[in-house]
């Protein structure tokens, strides 16, 4: 006989089954719900990224003017073979490497230096934090146009200023000289982007426990030793982030170069993105331009992968 308040077994079992089943419905929802959240982004990603990438890869195997599919012609790997003989393509790759090396290094060094300086709470630190960040939010096209005018040998400000300072021998066509065109564009890109690096470093610095520095100081560490043995290792994850962000941004940079030099003079500042654009949209060689785009995509992917592998060591940098 069942005790008072208890149910007979014949009733208890179905009820228990029902209770067991109830969570299984919730489990289904738990499984479905993430996909529901991801779905809009997935659709967006598919339409605006995956399909164009696949389309670009496919078109790279065709000869096509890009005007009408009536004229499209399968050429297999011909576009890729032609790339190997294209001097400007190799020149563009070389310039991309210069851009990454020069731009990334400068942004990391300048950003880190200013971040450490501004974190010393010197007078005006807040003001300069804001000022240094302003270029980052400016349109690249606007930045390019402003600097093109500033650097113009005839109408600009830089050369007259140099002459006023008695440095007239340095005055030149900054964007019209093959020796200075690329470094000048790199410098403008650094000016525009160091603020972002600086802010990321500041965020990283704020995350370091001040007690570590105090302990080091008590132990007799100099500021220089603290910087190299505490700050830098603990900032390593931020440094990796800045390096990866900067190099990807640099590889895909187009607008600034196009506005300032259009890849010139005579390809002296041509990079893969501008060469891809010229081939596809100016010379009506959409297949060839797509092949350049595919190479750029592969390079970006490999570059990022290598960086992640190289930098994926102990995030504390071994600082104990």
């Amino acid at each position: 006989m069942a005790k008072e308040g208890t149910k007979p077994l014949s009733q208890a079992i179905p009820q228990a089954r029902a209770e067991i089943h109830r969570p299984s419905l919730s489990l289904t929802w738990q499984r479905v719900l993430p996909y529901a959240f991801i779905f809009p982004a997935f659709i967006f990603y598919t339409i605006f990224l995956a399909i164009p990438i696949v389309g670009t890869v496919v078109i790279s195997f065709f000869e096509w003017t890009g005007i009408s599919f009536n004229t499209i012609k399968w050429v297999g790997f011909d576009n890729y073979v032609a790339l190997t003989r294209d001097d400007v393509f190799w020149q563009a790759i070389k310039h991309n490497v210069y851009f990454i090396a020069g731009g990334m290094t400068s942004i990391v060094v300048v950003g880190l230096f200013l971040a450490v300086l501004l974190e010393q709470n010197l007078p005006g630190s807040s003001f300069f934090r804001g000022i240094f960040f302003v270029p980052t939010v400016m349109s690249l096209v606007v930045v390019g146009l402003i600097f093109t005018l500033i650097l113009s040998p005839e109408l600009g400000l830089v050369n007259p200023l140099l002459r006023q300072l008695g440095l007239g021998h340095l005055a030149k066509a900054w964007l019209g000289d093959p020796q200075t065109a690329l470094p000048t564009v790199i410098a403008v890109d650094v000016w525009r982007n160091f603020g972002l690096g600086m802010f990321l470093f500041i965020a990283g610095l704020k995350g370091i426990d001040a007690e570590i520095f105090e302990a080091a100081k008590i132990d007799g560490a100099t500021p220089w030793q603290s910087f190299w043995r505490i700050t830098m290792p603990l900032l390593w994850p931020v440094t990796v982030l800045v390096i990866i962000l900067t190099s990807i941004n640099t590889l895909k940079l187009f607008d600034l170069i196009y506005v300032m030099t259009a890849g010139g003079p005579n390809h002296a500042s041509q990079v893969l993105t501008t060469w891809m654009y010229s081939q596809g949209f100016t010379y009506n060689k959409m297949g060839y331009g797509s092949a350049v785009a595919v190479v750029l995509l592969v390079l970006t992917f490999v570059f990022t992968l290598v960086q992640l592998r190289v930098f994926s060591r102990d995030t504390t940098g071994g600082a104990q």
Binding site: N70, T148, L155, T261, P265, N266, H267, M286
Partner: protein, 433 residues
């Protein structure tokens, strides 16, 4: 309520029916800056007013990006219904893949309103794919008359290239920049080169060269000599210092600011002066001179033809085609064509549009000195050669020789290499016998 509802339904249906009757036409042009922008938009507004069943929507696009945007429109399947073109290859790139409407029927009935001979550059395979509306020449040199006078130079006494070289030297010695020049994108440099080619080897050889006829090559000694004439200007320091980095608007600014005495560019510059030239600026113009020893002469000129065309999409149904033709027909009538002659210094191809009453004296001067009685013409090379030749090898090379990256010889070698790799897109001259 019962009385109001049918009223609203009737109004809505009537509006919908009316809206259905209005044919929408998109029209893309290079009229992105004044004076052409204002003239164009005023005319379009007038057309829309006079034709309530047609609504033309204008999209002005900046000159240097125009054909890229236009091509992207065709690629995406959303081209304009009616668009501007610059004839020859510039139009044929859309004609050959079958994207432009054949309007031979309309042209047969109305083509006599245009100057004779202007239809060749817009026809293909015996069919007419557009209308010519204007011609722009590139064989003239503008000058700042006041600046020349200050330096003791009589512009009308400049008859030969040697006269110009002497004038450049005199200006340079006086500390005045002889020529305002900005070749960032390469096309202004190519215009100098074409002018030298036309004068040094003659129009006939240039046209045969473009068609890859007669065994001519870009590396022929006389072609390289023509290139050298251009390179010499840079080597002697006659160009403004931003020659390889400034762009066309900067060159016009330098010229209008009185910081250089000469400016070589197309006849479109006459229209630009209306909007940009400072008051009191003493603008003068000479045709590009003869060069001693050259086979060409001042009776030949280089030019580009502009006009309108209808895309296949713009003719997808008979009513739309009719509307597009109505628009083109209206735009190419004398009163409308004269608006561009008056306000923008255009050299209209519409018969009777360019008259002394409405045309700028410089336009009349070009017509008298260069077009009437000419013995030959050369198209702008980027429009009669494959893009890899005209827009890459020639344009980029014209910058490269300024910076010392190339010499006249290596520049022409790169042009020849590009030309040899591409089939000629236009055959303008009969093959050599």
């Amino acid at each position: 309520m019962k009385q109001v509802l049918p009223f609203f339904i009737t109004i809505t249906l009537a509006s919908w029916t009316l809206a259905q009757d209005v044919i929408e036409l998109s029209f893309w042009t290079e009229w992105s800056a004044d004076p052409t922008r204002t003239i164009g938009e005023t005319l379009i507004a007038k057309f829309n007013e006079e034709h309530p069943n047609i609504r033309v929507t204008h999209r002005p696009i900046e000159n240097e990006q125009f054909f890229t945007v236009l091509r992207t429109g065709f690629t995406s399947g959303e081209p304009p219904d009616v668009f501007q073109h610059e004839a020859n290859n510039n139009l044929l790139q859309f004609v050959v893949p079958g994207e432009v409407e054949d309007i031979s029927d309309w042209y047969a009935a109305n083509g006599d309103r245009f100057q004779p001979g202007t239809d060749a550059a817009i026809s293909y395979d015996g069919k007419q794919y557009g209308v010519p509306t204007g011609i722009a020449t590139g064989t003239q040199i503008y000058y700042n008359a006041a600046l020349l006078e200050e330096n003791g130079i009589d512009p009308k006494a400049l008859q030969t290239w040697d006269d110009y070289l002497a004038a450049f030297e005199k200006l340079k010695a006086a500390g005045v920049t002889p020529i305002a020049y900005a070749n960032k994108f390469g096309w202004p440099g190519s215009q100098w080169f074409y002018a030298f080619l036309t004068r040094w080897v003659g129009a006939e050889k240039v046209n045969q060269l473009v068609a890859r006829n007669c065994g001519y090559a870009w590396t022929d000694p006389d072609i390289v000599e023509a290139a050298q004439l251009y390179v010499d200007l840079a080597d002697k320091g006659y160009f403004s210092s931003g020659m390889s980095s400034d762009d066309y608007p900067q060159a016009t600014a330098i010229f209008f600011a009185g910081r250089a005495a000469f400016f070589h560019t197309g006849s479109w510059f006459i229209g630009e002066t209306a909007a940009d030239m400072p008051e009191g600026f003493a603008l003068g113009m000479n045709r590009f001179p003869d060069i001693e020893g050259g086979k060409g002469n001042t009776d030949t000129f280089m030019a580009v033809l502009g006009g309108y065309a209808i895309s296949k999409k713009g003719a997808e149904d008979p009513a739309k085609r009719e509307a597009a033709l109505t628009f083109i027909d209206w735009m190419t009538q004398v009163p409308q064509a004269q608006e561009f002659v008056k306000g923008a210094g255009s050299m209209s191809t519409v018969e009777g549009a360019v008259t002394p009453e409405v045309a700028d004296p410089l336009v009349l001067q070009i017509i008298e000195e260069q077009i009437n009685g000419n013995t030959g013409a050369v198209g702008f090379l980027e429009h009669v050669t494959p893009k890899a030749v005209g827009e890459d090898a020639i344009w980029m090379g014209s910058v490269g020789v300024l910076t010392g990256q190339l010499t006249a010889q290596t520049w022409m070698e790169s042009v020849e290499e590009a030309a040899a790799a591409e089939a000629p897109t236009l055959v303008l001259e009969p093959a050599c016998e």
